[in-house]
């Protein structure tokens, strides 16, 4: 029974609108696409990506498994082991003038943007030469000269900030994009919603990159949201959502490239969901007893670094000897960085007072 009015919507569409599939999904790039990608990217950038993945792994291993246990790190440690492909595959595509807003599992983003292991380690050790001069710890660091915006603890606070950065680019008609990173848990925050919505309404040049590592501390993703994929939320914002295998650096690269192209073309933001797994506890103190051994083992087999090495060997981009040499180089680099950081002094206590407000000599 309906009141008659021809040009009206059909009323009360029941049941829900859930059947339609609105997100693009791609398990992982197939073999053909893989080769095509390898050729289009070129050997040098491909090797550089491997280097950054290995450097990140080594740096974080050193922080979490050595320095933290030796009591040399001040405060907590969060690492992105098993997730390196995400920040490497995406951040590699940024140009110098682009901006990144990393989150707490995106060490590679800092490195690729030019922040260096010695100063990063000094940061973790609360030293004067850390990026925040001892004022803040671990990955709470940034460098505006390198166009890296510092993360704050409040998850998803960086989402509207990234939109604001994109807004500035749009207003000034600059050909620049922002990459903004966050976890699955962060998507439950109101700031995430407000930020994405605003970016989409304004068609801002932002690529939102979610590392869906299936846990937020001890909370599994099913207790975080009642949808299967974070990307399922994109249509609500009139935004393109895409799902990629976050342990496949080439897949991440490929999807990010498309998202950046869209952003540069003025087509607005993209929500890129990278499926992955957190291969550690939430932080160094957490043994993740709530995750079963089998799940860890299953994901260990999907390790993004060994997987990528296999691809590069197979495609003859690099030899095993070169990989071994790269590993030695990375270790040495981190050894030196640790020495340097340890020799950096603690800040002068009085330095605490400076810089709350603008100071003339800055």
């Amino acid at each position: 029974m309906r009141q008659h009015d021809k040009d009206l919507h059909p009323s009360a569409k029941v049941p829900s609108v859930r059947e339609e599939k609105l997100t693009e999904g791609r398990e992982s790039v197939g073999v053909a696409l893989q080769s095509a990608l390898v050729h289009s990217i070129g050997a040098e950038p491909l090797r550089r990506m491997l280097y950054y993945m290995m450097l990140t792994r080594e740096l974080e291993n050193r922080i979490e498994r050595k320095l933290y246990r030796q009591g040399k790190i001040v405060g907590g440690v969060y690492v992105g082991r098993g997730q390196e492909a995400i920040s490497v595959g995406s951040c590699t595509l940024t140009r110098p003038q682009d901006v990144v807003c990393p989150s707490h599992r995106d060490m590679a983003a800092f490195l690729i943007r030019g922040m260096t292991p010695p100063r990063i380690l000094a940061q973790y050790m609360g030293r004067r030469d850390g990026y925040t001069r001892g004022r803040d710890g671990n990955m709470h660091m940034g460098d505006l000269k390198l166009h890296v915006i510092s993360f704050v603890s409040m998850l998803a606070d960086n989402v509207p900030v990234a939109a604001g950065v994109g807004l500035a680019f749009k207003m000034r008609k600059e050909d620049r994009v922002v990459l903004c990173y966050f976890g699955d848990g962060a998507t439950s925050r109101g700031d995430w919603h407000e930020g994405l919505n605003f970016a989409s309404v304004e068609k801002l040049p932002v690529v939102y990159i979610c590392n869906n590592n299936q846990f937020a501390y001890s909370t599994p993703v099913q207790l975080q949201m009642a949808v299967e994929n974070v990307a399922d939320r994109a249509p609500a914002y009139g935004m393109l959502g895409e799902i990629v295998d976050g342990n496949d650096v080439l897949a991440v690269y490929d999807a990010t490239r498309r998202a950046i192209e869209r952003a540069r073309a003025g087509l607005g933001p993209t929500l890129l969901e990278c499926k992955t797994f957190r291969m550690t506890g939430h932080s160094a103190h957490d043994d993740a007893s709530y995750v079963s051994r089998e799940v860890f083992e299953e994901w260990e087999r999907k390790d993004p670094i060994s997987r990528y090495q296999r691809v590069l060997l197979q495609e003859e981009i690099i030899s095993q000897e070169k990989i071994d040499a790269m590993q030695r180089q990375v270790i040495e680099e981190i050894d030196q960085a640790v020495d340097w950081a340890e020799s950096s002094p603690y800040p002068e206590p009085e330095d605490c007072l400076r810089g709350v407000y603008y100071e003339d000599d800055e």
Binding site: R2, D5, L8, S11, S188, E194, M225, A226, P235, A236
Partner: protein, 321 residues
């Protein structure tokens, strides 16, 4: 399908809302109202169609355009009038304004101004219902503008994850103050948001009280049976300014003219007439009754005293009496 009595009741509530709001506007123009007047003109079908679908122990939290919901749930015209006139006799004794009133005995939770804030609160009320193993549902509303807030997202997501019996109605009236929907969202089909949260979503013609009622009944059934929240998008149009001070010069004239032809009260009246559900006689009786009620309520409200200054103090914390 509602019975004839129910159809008459629906008509009564629709007209009561409309006539009471017209009275409020008249009082506003003579300077008697303290503060602004926000009406739901053109949106009456949504408030009434949804609130009318509630059962006795259900919960309601209205927004500013939902005077009709409050009336259906047992607030009387004098309550609303006394609130707008800031009288000591109003439900909040002059402490808060307009429709910011509630009564837990009636299952009505008072709104606050902050758009969206009611959604987590009603999700929590629905959570309590679930914990207490009751069969009530919680109903609340949000405007198209309010969907952009933190609390819309956090509240609906929380409700979805916990599968609580919440029915959230998005009243898409095209405007949030002077901001058109196109500047509020890049996807104006708000019903799609249901999919973003993993909840059921219905879209309904918000100017068709029977369609709204039917959708609300289905939504409430769905929620009551433990299937989690439901999002209803009701498409409508705000037929006046944001509030009475605002002449809505920014709204294109033809948009208003177009929607005038869909006026929910007129349409329902036409429907009742054409289906022979209400005679001219019956209609006149209902209208006479409403006019009498509203006039009497206005008189009483105006006779009510203003609170005395000292009444500002006290009642901030629990007081043992």
């Amino acid at each position: 399908m509602p019975t004839k009595t129910q159809l008459h009741e629906l008509y009564y509530w629709m007209q009561l809302t409309r006539i009471l709001e017209e009275k409020l506007v008249a009082l506003y123009r003579t300077g008697k109202v303290v503060g602004g007047v926000y009406t739901g003109r053109g949106q009456e079908a949504i408030a009434i169609g949804t609130a009318y679908a509630l059962e006795k122990d259900d919960l309601l939290a209205p927004m500013i355009r939902n005077l009709g919901s409050l009336l259906v749930r047992g607030f009387c015209p004098e309550d609303a009038l006394a609130q707008y006139l800031a009288r000591a006799t109003s439900p909040t004794r002059g402490r808060d304004c307009n429709l910011h009133m509630g009564d837990l005995g009636k299952g009505v939770i008072a709104p606050i101004s902050m758009l969206g804030a009611l959604i987590p609160v009603m999700a929590g009320a629905a959570l309590a219902v679930k914990i207490q193993k009751k069969r009530s549902v919680a109903l609340t509303y949000i405007g198209d503008g309010g969907t952009s807030t933190t609390d819309f997202h956090e509240g609906l997501n929380f409700a979805a994850v916990r599968k609580v019996p919440l029915v959230l109605v998005i009243e898409n009236n095209g405007w949030a103050y002077s901001t058109p929907v196109a500047r509020q969202t890049a996807n104006p089909e708000f019903v799609i948001r249901a999919q973003a949260y993993g909840v059921a979503g219905f879209q309904v013609d918000g100017n068709d009280v029977l369609a709204v009622y039917e959708a609300a009944c289905k939504a409430m059934d769905h929620a009551r049976q433990g299937n989690g929240p439901v999002l209803i998008e009701a498409k409508t149009m705000r037929m006046r300014g944001h509030a009475e001070h605002d002449d809505a010069w920014y709204v294109p004239r033809d948009e208003i003219e177009h929607w005038k032809t869909r006026d929910p009260v007129d349409r329902f009246e036409r429907y009742l007439r054409e289906t022979g559900s209400m005679s001219e006689e019956e209609r006149n009786t209902i209208l006479r009754r409403i006019n009498g009620e509203v006039d009497r309520a206005a008189e009483l409200a105006e006779q009510g005293p203003l609170p005395s200054g000292e009444d500002a103090a006290g009642g901030v914390y629990h007081e043992t009496t």
